[in-house]
Amino acid sequence: MESAVGVTVGAVWVLSAPVFVFCAAVDFLDRGPDCIPLLVSGLIVGLLGLLVVRLSSFPSSLPVSRLFASVVSGAVAALIAVTVAHLATDTSIALDVALVEAAATVTGTNASTLNADSMSLGVTLLRALGQWLSAGAIIVVLVRVMPHLGVGGLDADGGVATRSARRLAPRSGSTMARLVSLYIGLTVLCAFAYLVAGMPWMDSWIHSFTTLSSGGFSTRSGSIGAFDSPAIEWVAIVGMVVAGTSLPLMFRALRRGDLHRFVRSVEFRTYIGLILISVVACIAWSDTWPTVSDLRHSLFAVVSALSTTGYLAGDLESVSYGSEAVLLVLMVVGGMSASVAGGFKVMRFMVLGRYIRRELRRSIHPALVGKIHLGRSVIGEVALSRIIGELFLASMTIIPIAMLFSADGLDLEAAISFAVSSLSNVGFAFGLGGPDGHLQMMGAVGHLAAALMMLVGRVSITPVLVTLGGVGEPLQQKVRHMRRTATREVLR
């Protein structure tokens, strides 16, 4: 059967089997309890994947809607695989809990109902690796697939995925490999830095996986704050900033050894500027006189929110109202385009700002054409309307989801901030007195809604809706056909 969806799903399952086996091996060495379940679930998932791949073949022509569907189904397939692992290892017994945990793993969100301390090493490693691998997959999709689809203006001609994406596109086969190796290299470097900063060996690997993927899972329930070490926090800060930076940009800057490229990138300047301004705002609005550790904690929280990692250090319970609002806004903004971070991306907001300015100008000079420039490139009108459509659709999803959250026991502030946080794949939110615990507070409805929201945030809303439309299409055609024949009958 020709089906791109089948090929994607099968490939994801086949590729995830070795990861399961690897985690099972680690758990075996650690003498953990989850070795056999992991091995078995890995084998099941792998065999299923093989079966699906054998049954389906890559289609000769691939319409856009199918491509969308295969991107979404790839994410869903990963979700199912991780859910199976959670259920098999008894990490979570209820299906909804397993689903939301899997969603958090696949989308790189640091929201969990489980206690990280009580998990076996194998499962912890599986979750961290899941975040790391799916972030790697996102890079591939962002640079290789999305430009063809033009999702949310991230297309090659719109230049929103930076000029780099356009330049990369033709030769992306080899560049893709280089980007991935850069990602791996950075991860190794980060693990080494953690190790030097005094983290245990295994923890530093796991944290490095979740830092560079902007995922945020930790081996401790207190996240990075549990280590209580300034050095580790500084490493995490740098790692998160790197995770929020555009990979193609880093790649080109490092390849030529031309660090000046960072300064020349408008988006990077804005990204760093945003961090600095937010830190200043957080400090200025806090009630006490700032100390060095306050500065570090503010920087940590700001970077964690902006890069949508979701690590925690210091206590977020005592942040001032102003910092809370700033952090929420930063979550929505997210990292740079073509980075692994979630959120709406700095670049798109810059484009929107310029769009508003143009419309203001146009209200005085109605005949103004006003092309929108970003750095040296011009943003096309098509890309513009895609960005805007994406923003509106995404923000419209917040309302019903927040209502579901509040129906399931969260208060207003907690519901809205957690909806925003899960849409941006961050994880921590406000309104409960603590940064996490939102998922624990809720029942099955809230869990499913949160899982959906995270997924929408990760693959962005347009593919999800187009896929849903595609699922509905055969039905729609059938109804249309029936109606047509019915009218024909009547006419006779």
């Binding site: 109202y321 102003g322 187009v466």
Partner: protein, 475 residues
């Protein structure tokens, strides 16, 4: 302005309460300054869009400044709290209805009357602004109204605006009179009936009682007020057309259908959410009242919705955000724009599926131009951006985020009450002093549909530049 204050003086005399002297003094000062300014300047021969924006915006500001005087002279608010007087005045003239008065018993009746009158006058200016001036200038895509609901809109500003204004004011005044009479018939005193009619038709929401409409505790009064708010939140040029065409005039406008279904939908959601929390009839009554009150951005209160469930608050927040129809006195970003934005987003979805398709944006039975859609989208983006900025700044000033963001929505949408601590049975003294200044600016911005207010600065700067240049030439 002076005339309005004199009217209030009469009320003071009839009522026999205090405040008469203060109002008289204020009237004299305002009238004097106004006369000097009027005689001292002449109409410039050439008026471009920016200048028109600027004159609208500046005159609004001048009126609000003058409007503070009665509060100050009558001693309701001390001179040291000039900003509070300005807040109350701006809140009045922008038809917002957020108040900083906490003790209504101590305020003379005449001042309460004057307060309602400011809203009514603000609404009067607004009707013309919303129906005739802004669409003609094409602010934020409001030229759409003309395409869908032909009525007394001005095609050419300078020629027709006077005529249009006269007709609209006639309608506005008549509606107020009818409402006042009906309110009187259902049991309000003359004073209450008139003041509430003023603020209902202006979608303002000031009430001479701290409890707002809840003071009367009568379902009939609420129904009348609901009808008034629904009327005031709808397009006035449509009302004008309905006078000749009958009820069909409403049905033919797609925005009306959206407006009514939005409020009805919100009402149903509120009833469902409040189910079990409130007794059946009480639930229906309060849900209906608040759906209409916030959907038309009036902001009257019939109970304290702060006690409701969080899901209800989200519904209310959405209503506040969207507001009434275009061409009405209601604030918010307007149903029409919501319509365009939703159509626009779903068009993008269709385009993602069929990349090379050319799909027009439909609105009602027609389609709209890309340029106008771009204007609408630009407006909505700016609107949302300002709400977020306002929310962040307010929370930075020490307000809890919920109150801050809802206050920001409420001020920019000219609603009145907010959520959190600033609910309908509270007042805006819960915001610190600096935050109230921010709120004031947001109210003015929201009322002037953002763009004129922004351009007012541009035009003024340009005017200053010209002045300097001519001076240099003189030398």
């Amino acid at each position: 302005m002076a005339a309005a204050m004199v009217l209030s003086v009469f009320v003071a005399l009839i009522d026999g309460g205090g405040g008469g002297f203060g109002l008289t003094a204020a009237a004299i000062v305002t009238g004097g300054i106004g006369a000097v300014c009027f005689l001292g300047s002449r109409v410039s021969p050439s008026a471009d869009a920016a200048l028109a924006f600027a004159s609208v915006a500046w005159s609004w500001l001048a009126v609000s400044l003058a409007g503070t005087l009665p509060f100050l002279f009558a001693g309701v608010i001390s001179w040291a709290h000039f900003d509070d007087a300005l807040f109350e005045s701006i809140s009045g003239f922008t038809c917002t209805g957020s108040t900083i008065l906490s003790d209504f018993g101590a305020v003379p009746q005449s001042i309460l009357f004057y307060r309602s009158l400011t809203q009514w006058l603000g609404g009067m200016g607004l009707v013309v602004l919303a129906v005739a001036v802004l669409p003609a200038l094409g602010i934020g895509g409001l030229d759409l109204i003309a395409s869908e609901a032909p009525g007394p809109t001005a095609d050419r500003l300078s020629l027709k605006v006077r005529d249009t204004a006269r007709r609209l004011w006639l309608l506005y005044g008549a509606a107020t009179c009818i409402l006042a009479i009906v309110l009187f018939l259902v049991g309000m005193s003359v004073f209450d009936a008139v003041t509430h009619a003023f603020t209902t038709i202006a979608t303002g929401g000031y009430s001479p009682h701290a409890e707002s409409i809840a003071y009367f505790d009568s379902f009939v009064v609420e129904l009348v007020v609901i009808a008034g708010m629904l009327f005031a939140g709808a397009n006035f040029s449509m009302h004008w057309r309905a006078l000749s065409d009958g009820i069909r005039a409403y049905g033919s406008v797609s925005e009306t259908r959206w407006y009514v279904s939005l409020i009805a939908g919100a009402c149903v959601i509120l009833i469902l959410v409040n189910h079990g929390e409130l007794e059946w009839f009480q639930n229906f009554r309060e849900s209906l009242f608040y759906a209409v009150s916030l959907g038309s951005n009036t902001g009257f209160g019939s109970s304290n919705y702060v006690m409701w469930m969080p899901a209800a608050h989200i519904t209310l927040l959405v209503l506040m955000l969207v507001g009434g129809m275009s061409g009405s006195t209601a604030g918010g970003m307007k149903v029409l724009r919501l319509q365009v934005v939703i159509r626009y987003s779903f068009r993008e979805l269709m385009r993602a599926r069929h990349p090379s398709a050319v799909i027009p944006i439909r609105l009602g039975s027609g389609t709209i131009e890309e340029q106008i859609a771009a204007k609408v989208v630009g407006f909505v983006l700016l609107y949302l951006g300002l709400i977020v900025t306002g929310g962040v700044v307010l929370s930075g000033l020490g307000v809890d985020p919920l109150t801050a963001f809802s206050g920001s929505v409420s001020a920019l949408g000219n609603v009145g009450p907010a959520l959190g601590e600033a609910g309908p049975s509270s007042n805006f003294l819960v915001f610190p002093r600096a935050a109230r200044v921010v709120l004031m600016m947001m109210m003015a911005l929201g009322r002037l549909e953002l763009f004129p207010a922004m351009l007012m600065l541009v035009a003024s700067l340009r005017g200053l530049g010209q002045l300097q240049r001519s001076r240099e030439q003189m030398k």
